[in-house]
């Protein structure tokens, strides 16, 4: 695993997230659930806790967008880059953006939203890319069944290096 330069991390245990908009590809309830489960991937192994907010700003702002979307890192249409997220910090820090030119999917008919979101939230929390194939933070998309997904040891070691273990 790798962390970003200077190992930025959140200096608090309780983080907020907000789903700014939705993809037309999936029912809203599924997007809500995929995002919640993707954050749980990380809260299950650390002391971090996430709370959803629906108004104002949140630590992690989540949105779907196409092409240029105001952050200086335009998306590239279908394929290629699927999503990106920013390391912990103020403003854009922690935010996660998903390319709405992709076909987002509950399973593997398109790009699985849960798997990509869990990866992006790793960045939101301070993990960079791993070069361990099979790790969630490996940069290439690969489908695994989200219902049997387990966090790879490399990801667990990385996030626990930043935040410690879940004592509960």
């Amino acid at each position: 695993y790798q962390t970003f330069y200077g190992s930025p991390r959140w200096n608090k245990k309780y983080l907020t997230y907000k789903i700014v908009n939705y993809t037309p590809d999936l029912p809203r309830e599924y997007v809500d659930d995929a995002i919640r489960r993707a954050l749980m991937v990380w809260s299950n192994v650390t002391p971090l806790r996430f709370k959803r907010v629906t108004s104002g700003q949140a630590d992690i702002m989540i949105k779907f967008a196409r092409r240029a979307h105001g952050d200086g890192y335009p998306f590239d249409g279908r394929g290629g880059t699927l999503a990106h997220a920013f390391q912990p910090g103020e403003g854009l820090g922690g935010d996660a953006h998903f390319d709405d030119d992709e076909r987002w999917s509950k399973y593997n008919q398109g790009v699985n939203l849960f798997l990509v979101a869990a990866h992006e939230f790793g960045h939101s929390l301070g993990l960079a890319h791993s070069n361990v194939r099979g790790a969630l933070m490996y940069p290439l998309y690969s489908y695994v069944n989200p219902e049997t997904f387990t966090l790879h040891w490399d990801d667990r070691r990385g996030i626990q290096k930043l935040y410690g273990r879940n004592s509960a």
């Binding site: 394929g79 290629g80 880059t81 699927l82 990866h119 890319h129 070069n131 940069p139 290439l140 998309y141």
Partner: protein, 76 residues
């Protein structure tokens, strides 16, 4: 100085694919401002544990064309 690649070895399309990919995911760092394209491909091949050739072989091109996260692969 880095040795320039022989143009005959690269089609324009390949060169465009490689440079776009490397600039985005393996950007040049200030401490290494002048490394050659071949060295940058080697860095990418090393990260993905491919055969290190410094060339755009089929294996390397396949990796470059796979769907992926938009964050660079070098932590800095």
């Amino acid at each position: 100085f880095p040795i320039p690649l022989k143009p005959a070895l690269w089609s324009n399309a390949d060169l465009d694919i490689v440079q776009t990919y490397l600039n985005k995911f393996f950007p040049l760092l200030e401490k290494h401002p002048a490394i050659s394209l071949e060295e940058r491909i080697k860095e990418m091949q090393k990260f993905f544990r491919l055969t290190i050739t410094g060339k755009l072989n089929a294996e390397t091109k396949t990796i470059m064309q796979q769907p992926r996260c938009g964050i660079p692969d070098v932590a800095n």
